[in-house]
């Protein structure tokens, strides 16, 4: 029973992080039509910034805030410096065809990932370093009884639920959120309504950057920090987004939690080596039975 409970808790807390990563991917996919492979590279970069600040004796919280801000700034920078110029005039009719129009930004995001990883290697050297947690990550003991979860698990869940609540409010309850949904659903009608879709697009990249750097900060304590550590989270986050439906924010969150639990159960009841096999099976099953994902809309491009 204890094993089961602890699998549930660690799965939920892991799932919360995957949900954030998936959310970041879906935000950019819906807002800009790009599958952003650089996302966790951006997160890795901002986590390094936090790690450097902590090494210079700044408090965890200052490092945390600075990392989120730089994550957002990096997201905006990717859009302004790379994606926007790419979206303008193309040099040849081949590059201007619809297929290339949607492919070029994706290839560019892979390039950005490479640049970020190389830059991190140059700046911070490629050796792994640890990353602290703000609260204890050992099993919590309450009234002499050890609990099946850690204080850090609770911290992660709390902060992710807060983020999800804030995101939901932003999209459903504010004018800017409405502008973002409208631009993603029908850019032409949005523009005719006076919505500045260029700004909205950059904002999608920014919010996605913040969400993924948050995922990076929360996941790194258990994985150590190196230029490549977060690649794994990208793969899991991407699977979560596809399982949930690439164009649904809620779906991506559900997909994240589902994968977190799956991984946790495989880890506990089977063997860690089988985790990727399990992920692959889930991904294939969803793609065969329901290619649009759990909550995705039909007619959306199939992955």
């Amino acid at each position: 029973m204890d094993i089961f409970l602890s699998a549930i808790f660690s799965g939920t807390s892991r799932g919360a992080i995957y949900a954030l990563a998936a959310l970041g991917l879906v935000l950019v996919w819906r807002g800009a039509g790009v599958v952003n492979f650089a996302q966790m590279g951006q997160a890795m970069f901002s986590t390094y910034i936090a790690s450097t600040l902590i090494a210079h004796n700044y408090s965890y919280w200052i490092a945390f805030i600075v990392a989120l801000i730089s994550g957002g700034a990096l997201g905006a920078l990717v859009d302004l410096a790379v994606m926007r110029p790419l979206g303008r005039k193309r040099s040849s009719s081949f590059l201007d065809s619809p297929a290339m129009r949607s492919t070029v930004p994706v290839i560019a995001s892979l390039g950005i990932l490479g640049v970020l990883q190389a830059a991190a290697g140059i700046i911070w050297a490629a050796e792994e370093r640890g990353f602290p947690t703000p609260v204890n990550s050992l099993g919590l003991v309450i009234g002499g009884k050890s609990m099946p979860f850690t204080a850090f698990d609770l911290f992660v869940m709390g902060i992710v639920f807060l983020t999800l609540a804030a995101t939901t409010y932003f999209f459903k309850g504010t004018g800017m959120g409405l502008a973002m949904r409208a631009s993603a659903l029908n850019p032409e009608v949005a523009r005719l309504s006076g919505i500045r879709i260029g700004f909205v697009r950059t904002l999608s990249w920014t919010i996605s950057g913040v969400a993924s750097s948050l995922a990076g900060l929360l996941v790194t304590p258990s994985a150590n920090l190196s230029p490549n550590t977060l690649d794994l989270i990208l793969i899991i986050g991407f699977t979560a987004a596809v399982v949930g439906g690439l164009d649904s924010l809620l779906g991506s969150v559900i997909g994240g939690f589902a994968l977190g639990l799956l991984i946790s159960f495989v880890n506990v009841y089977d063997a860690p080596e089988d985790i990727f096999l399990a992920i692959l099976i889930v991904l294939l099953t969803v793609l065969i039975i329901r290619p649009q994902g759990i909550l995705g809309s039909k007619g959306v491009r199939r992955v």
């Binding site: 004018g175 409405l178 502008a179 949904r181 409208a182 659903l185 029908n186 032409e188 009608v189 949005a190 523009r191 005719l192 309504s193 006076g194 919505i195 500045r196 879709i197 809309s297």
Partner: protein, 237 residues
Amino acid sequence: MLEIKDLVTEYGSVKALNGVTLSAHEGKITTVIGANGAGKSTLLRTISALEHPRSGSITWKQKSIVGLSPENIVRLGIAHVPEGHAVISELSVEENISMGALFRMRSNKSDVKKATQEMYELFPRLDERKKQLAGSLSGGERQMLAISRALVSRPSLLLLDEPSLGLAPLVVEQIIQTVNDLCRNTGLTVLLVEQNANTALSVADHGVLLSLGTVVADLPAAQMKADVALRAAYLGY
């Protein structure tokens, strides 16, 4: 008010507009009629900057608006209701309307509220369906919503693209009549693109007949309606 001169718009090597000259008269309904492929929609899309003209000029209140973005053109008081009941199906009726006023929300919140209320008075059926998704509305209701989305920005010029498309005659009558009333009561200028020439000419002040991207006639609406030879040659009845 709106003056268009020698406008040329191309899709690849096809000239959709081949030197169009016309104007929309202040406080009047000008209708642009013509067969499929005459360039009617392209004309409206070029005015609202969804397409870029190759050459020619578009002047609004004595200033050129060529080269501006659609986002800025709506801020100058030109609202475009594109073809096909253009609403966002996944958003509610309420959200579709407030979308049209987002850009004035900060500068004039009280007027946005007032304008929104006016839309519900204009089309009471939208008021009843406020919370419903736009995708669940009937074709006529969707057209009303698309028009409300444009009007809530308080435009002085309304570009209306084929509002009758796919609608029952009775609904068309109601929508056209509403637009007509708006024009007569509030001084709204309307540029109405229609394939349904009879309906359009019955409410319009001026008629512009477009064929293969060029203006073949620009007459008072009544005169155009009476010109049997013209209709037979270009509209086929």
